[in-house]
């Protein structure tokens, strides 16, 4: 009898535990579920600092890199919408707009940089500020200044200079390029520089050019900056690059660059500096735009933010979450946090000096020559991933240039154009 009772209780307990409810919502408890775990320590520090300002507010910070979008979707669908959540900026702002709050009338709208804010607007609405960024970012050509100085070379600003530089570097026994062609996102970072030049050449803006691609109206063969210069760069990087290009990923690039064997790194930006310096603290990091045309003025870096933090629209803790991000973006501590604690490109207007070379040179170049628009954020990562695969096919030799261009035109319209 006793045994039966125990087993009955156990079975009941096991069954019940399946349906155990999660914690109740509370207006002073902010649930922050974001990706980018590389900033976990810095964000924990930020939250600790905020605890002194607002002691009765608890911020539950959770982060993951692996498969963040899938986890977020699962949470959204189960009704457990995080008070602060992340996505990429630009086109994906509209995907999550149903869940996110327009921050245009918040104090933080005053301090956020226009280049960051423009990536947080809804394209469907033609406005709004649906997110903030943990960091601004710089995209461009990261190079080894030591190698260039040793050979007495200037960093190339035009297509011809690039070819000449490659020959000289190669002759001196260095590897001109390291490329991370095993990663799909490397291609979009390179491509956006050529897309900006192509939009210039066609007398339009990147946003409009992307729309033409989505409608299936744009032809790559009409855009020499892409059809010639972009593909020439890829060919050149294969000729003067890694032995196994499709096997080299970000860590392979870091090893070649940090190890001092490669002169130029393709498809990367501000984020690789710290890891490269960890390999060789003496490395002289240089940063420049891509030599996209014959005009040195078009050799621009790209700045902006490719990720966004959303504030949930219908949440109990909305006010607490808003107070937190406003404090983050407007208080002295919060604004200094970007450079002093996180060591990133500040997404706010601030005078703080960064100790990172890419950021210093990037902001100097931006002041001097301006920056090109952040082309990656006008399209979804679904498309960019396909783009990466198509370029990998080109590199593997399974598709030639014209077939690749045709596939790009077709898939861009099919993936991003349909809805």
């Amino acid at each position: 009898m006793k045994r039966k009772l125990i087993s009955g209780i156990l079975v009941g307990a096991m069954t019940l535990s399946l349906f155990a409810a999660t914690a109740m919502a509370d207006e002073n408890e902010v649930y922050m579920f974001i990706n980018q775990p590389e900033y976990a320590d810095a964000i924990t520090e930020l939250i600790d600092a905020y605890a002194e300002v607002a002691p009765d507010v608890t911020i539950n910070y959770e982060t993951t890199q692996n498969d963040y979008p899938t986890l977020l979707k699962a949470k959204l669908n189960s009704g457990e919408v995080p008070d602060i959540f992340a996505s990429t900026s630009g086109k994906e702002i509209d995907v999550y707009r149903e869940y996110s709050l327009d921050l245009s009338d918040q104090p933080l709208a005053e301090t956020i940089l226009p280049s960051v804010a423009s990536a947080m607007a809804s394209t469907e609405e033609g406005g709004g500020l649906y997110g903030i960024a943990i960091k601004g970012n710089y995209f461009g050509l990261v190079y080894n200044k030591g190698i260039f100085d040793e050979l007495g070379l200037e960093v190339p600003q035009t297509v011809d200079e690039l070819t000449a530089a490659c020959e000289a570097i190669s002759e001196a026994g260095y590897k001109p390029f390291t490329t991370g062609y095993a990663e799909w996102w490397v291609f979009k970072h390179i491509f956006q520089h050529y897309l900006a030049a192509a939009a210039d050449g066609a007398g339009t803006t990147v946003a409009e050019l992307v729309q033409q691609f989505e409608k299936g109206e744009a032809r790559i063969a009409d855009l020499p900056e892409i059809y010639n210069n972009f593909f020439d760069l890829i060919d050149l990087s294969l000729q003067y690059g890694d032995d196994k290009p499709l096997e080299t990923d970000l860590s392979g690039e870091l090893a070649a660059y940090g190890g001092g064997t490669a002169a130029m790194v393709l498809g990367q930006g501000a984020w690789i500096e710290a890891d490269s310096l960890a390999i060789d603290p003496e490395l002289q990091v240089g940063f420049s735009g891509y030599p996209v045309t014959d005009d040195p003025a078009q050799c621009q870096i790209i700045s902006g933010s490719d990720q966004a933090l959303h504030i949930a629209k219908d949440s109990e803790a909305q006010q607490a979450a808003l107070d937190f991000v406003n404090w983050w973006y407007t208080s002295d501590y919060g604004m200094a946090w970007f450079t002093d604690v996180a060591g990133v490109v500040p997404p706010v207007a601030s005078d703080a000096e960064s100790e990172f070379e890419v950021i210093k040179q990037g902001s100097a170049l931006e002041e001097e020559k301006g920056s090109a628009p952040l082309g990656v954020c006008y399209s979804t990562d679904s498309w960019w991933q396909k783009f990466g695969e198509l370029m990998q096919d080109y590199i593997a030799g399974t598709a030639d240039k014209d077939a690749t261009c045709a596939a790009i035109e077709e898939n861009w319209a099919a993936i991003d154009g349909a809805k």
């Binding site: 087993s7 399946l18 032995d243 290009p245 979804t380 990998q392």
Partner: protein, 293 residues
């Protein structure tokens, strides 16, 4: 008697209740739900899914696109996976049932890859293919190490298949060893007395009596081959290009990366039917050829 039967019935129900509930919540309800979503256009995020009837199935079946490519890859992979994992495992099992000093140790060595998670195996091999092979090339100068095993679409297929077979060998070896040990000694002795040589004994006596093991192993390797996912994700992520997309990876990509949850659900249902038919046919064929002693 009938009272006792009732009690047994009640106990059975009671004790399986947690499991039934779990399976229902985790498997059957999601299955039915994806059946519904396959009839809708939904990105997995929006609050409302739009009902579009059989549109998704038309897209899946008509286009000679990504799904078909992934299906061809998966069938090729499964064929080689089933073939090699069974033949090699059977061969090794026969070797390992021979009496020699390190037999037990060797069994352990072959089994170790199986207890490691697929993802870890994938990363280990990724390291071997990239860094390890570069080192081996420097040491030996052989051209085979210089090939881009993960970067060349043709080679990537063989690399993935090889790692898949390598990882799961241990499991099939154990099944075959169990089967080999169950072959009656007296029959084997009788064949020796009748003058059969080693090869004849193996092909005429041992192999036919291994029927049930072969059926089990074929079935398991077939379903595991068709379900291949994590090893590809860790090794190539479907690349280079889209040359190593398996159907499961393709479904995942469609549903979660391309934000086409409806289309992904439709693909998974089509694939479910294909797998169901395929496994039933193979199971029927192989079990009908078993011999009883």
């Amino acid at each position: 008697m009938s009272k006792r039967k009732k009690k047994e019935m009640f106990d059975t129900l009671l004790y399986t209740l947690p499991a039934i509930l779990l399976v229902t919540v985790m498997m059957y309800i999601p299955f039915v739900m994806s059946g519904y979503y396959s009839l809708t256009r939904w990105n997995g995020i929006a609050k409302e899914a739009v009902f579009i009837g059989l549109e998704n199935f038309k897209t899946v079946l008509s286009s000679g696109g990504e799904f078909t490519g992934a299906l061809v890859f998966t069938i090729r992979y499964t064929f080689f996976f089933v073939l090699f994992s069974n033949v090699i495992a059977l061969f090794l099992a026969v070797c390992l049932t021979k009496k020699f000093k390190l037999a037990n140790l060797m069994r352990g060595v072959f089994f170790i890859p199986y207890i490691m998670s697929m993802t870890i195996v994938g990363f280990i091999w990724k390291f071997i293919f990239t860094q390890g092979f570069a080192r081996l090339s420097a040491m030996t100068g052989w051209g085979v190490w210089d090939l881009s095993w993960l970067g060349n679409p043709r080679l990537a297929f063989y690399a993935v298949t090889m790692v898949g077979v390598w990882q799961s060998l241990g499991f099939y070896i154990v099944l075959y060893i169990a089967g080999l040990q169950a072959v009656p000694k007296d029959v084997l002795e009788a064949s020796t007395v009748d003058g059969a040589n080693g090869r004849q004994t193996f092909f005429r006596i041992t192999l036919p009596l291994l029927g049930p093991s072969i059926t089990t192993c074929l079935f398991m390797s077939l379903t595991n081959g068709l379900k291949v996912f994590d090893i590809i994700l860790a090794l190539t992520k479907g690349g280079p290009g889209s040359s190593t997309y398996s159907v499961t990876l393709q479904i995942y990509k469609e549903a979660f990366q391309n934000n086409n949850y409806g289309l992904g659900s439709a693909e998974s249902i089509v694939y479910f039917v294909i797998v169901l038919v395929l496994t039933q046919v193979v199971l029927k064929i192989s079990s009908s050829r078993e011999v009883a002693l």
